[in-house]
Amino acid sequence: MTSIFSIARLELLIARRNLWVATAILLMAMFNVVLTVAGNAPTGELGASPMTIAITSITTLSVYLVPLIGLLLSFDAISGEAERGTLTLELSYPLSRAEILLGKFIAHMVVLGVAIAIGLALTTAIIVSRHGTGAVEWGPLAALYFTSLALGATFLGLGYTISSLVRQTGAASGVAIALWLIAVVLYDLGLLGALVTDAGGTFSKTIFPYALVANPADAFRLLNMPDQSVNMLASGLGAASSVTGFFGQLTSLLLWPIAALLFALLAFRKVEP
């Protein structure tokens, strides 16, 4: 236990002095502020509460940003150490690879947790200052926070996996960007394309809903789009949410981080320094 926390502590020290991390947190905060302020201007016309609009905008943003930050934090976690030559020494110490991985994961989750919390706190503050405390809806806010963490955890785990499998940091960053592009952009485009060609056939009814929630980014998006009408506006893929439902989305978001960390551990175990 002490070992895990010592690793986490060291990683936090490193993250605190990492320009990338600072930039990511700043970016997250800035986008949240801009989206909340901009989204609040036309309130009333849509008949949605200011909180709903803010959460919808931030969800759309987070689908891109949270996986990106997760991958940025994790892509060099193993390969970077292997390249620097610190991995050999670390592995000679009396601690297991699972402990090393878990220590890094805890530290990176703290970074993600702080970044997301700062963003959401700013959003809440702006809404309170404009509409009073009554306009704050804590439920959706908490849901957004925790699902963002789950989404981030998934991509942290996938990042560690890439980092262990691809031993060069440069190559690992390339694979990480490719994964990000596929998960948050190309996957949806592919599904949409299949949907159009299928034109309401068996694929649209049976496979598509599951294929959609199988992607954690999509599960996250669907889960945090509270109003079906807003959902339709934000994403053409929203229609499928009713089939697999809340349960399917939640299962996807809970299983993915665990699966991703297990992949990472399996890949890390194979690394011979």
């Binding site: 002490t2 070992s3 010592s6 690793i7 502590r9 060291l10 020290l13 490193i14 002095r17 990492n18 620097r84 030559g85 610190t86 050999t88 020494l89 592995l91 000679s92 110490y93 009396p94 601690l95 011979e272 320094p273």
Partner: protein, 299 residues
């Protein structure tokens, strides 16, 4: 029970055999130097001892435990070849981290920083450290927790002579306190006085494993005499002793270890004509080359 026991270890990478049937043991308080060319198998052996690389055949015991087991790793200190740390940490932060992993006190880490001469630089980022300073952090983390077995891979590469000297002082203290030390090095001359036993690896095979004195006897390499006289006497000295003139004042001659005393008395018999005598036994470099070559011929 020796601290480290390597028995008939073989390591193959596909068809390539990088370590062939090596047996070696290191007792508590003993300093053993592992010598060999690049690619002779030193680092491979070290990685197998640490449990970082599977063994193809044979067995290794670290303090009676499997290499890489929790019990073995707890009592082992390791300094990797060209050790590196994350540049954005300070020396103190890094060493405190190692102290926590080894479950020793942070106080000991602070004392060690002072012992290796990094007290002033301890709170600066490692990025600003010189290679020698990083190596000191590396050595400090080996000594941390007084390991029963210390493994040092090329520990003095990149260190200046003064640092090397201080480095071996610490290694000596470690051995004095009962640790078994195994180190690999290229800097042969410094090992002569600073180790108890020398193991020479050549192409994955152990070609020699003994104290320096025994290795010298075994190889019976010639001993070199350098006799200095003066400008006008050197000619007659040369005629009486033989050997080869190196300049107008001195000459060099070689003999086997068995003839050493005879040659010495011949030189002293010349009396005051001889101004100075240097006697140089075969250096470690020569021994190393000798044993590496013997193996190459026989294989």
């Amino acid at each position: 029970m020796p601290a480290l026991k390597i028995e008939h270890v073989i390591k193959r990478h596909g068809a390539l055999e990088t370590v062939s049937d090596v047996s070696l043991s290191v007792e508590a308080g003993e300093r053993v130097a592992l010598l060999g060319h690049n690619g002779a198998g030193k680092t491979t052996i070290i990685k197998m001892v640490l449990g970082l690389m599977p063994i193809t055949a044979g067995a290794i015991q670290v303090l009676g435990h499997q290499p890489g087991s929790a019990a073995a790793r707890k009592q082992t200190g390791y300094l990797p070849e060209s050790v590196a740390f994350h540049g954005s940490l300070t020396g103190r932060e890094q060493l405190h981290h190692f102290a926590r992993l080894k479950s020793t006190s942070l106080k000991e880490a602070d004392n060690l920083l002072e012992r290796v001469g990094l007290a002033d630089a301890a709170d600066r980022r490692i990025r600003t450290y010189s290679k020698g300073m990083r190596q000191r952090i590396g050595l400090a983390q080996v000594v941390l927790g007084q390991p029963k077995l210390a493994i040092l891979d090329e520990p003095t590469s990149g260190l200046d002579p003064v640092s090397r000297h201080e480095f071996y002082d610490i290694v000596e203290e470690l051995a004095h306190n009962g640790s078994a030390v195994m180190l690999s090095s290229h800097a042969l001359t410094e090992l002569e006085l600073r180790t108890d036993r020398i193991a020479i690896l050549s192409k994955g095979q152990l070609v020699a494993n003994d104290s320096l004195q025994k290795l010298r006897d075994l190889a019976s390499l010639p001993i070199k005499f350098k006799v200095t006289a003066s400008n006008d006497t050197i000619e007659s000295v040369n005629q009486q002793l033989g050997g080869e003139r190196v300049n107008c004042q001195s000459l060099e001659l070689m003999c086997t270890p068995a003839e050493k005393i005879g040659v010495l008395s011949a030189i002293t018999a010349l009396g005051p004509v001889v101004k100075d005598v240097d006697v140089t036994p075969a250096s470690l470099e020569e021994l190393y080359r000798y044993f590496s070559r013997v193996e190459e011929k026989s294989s």
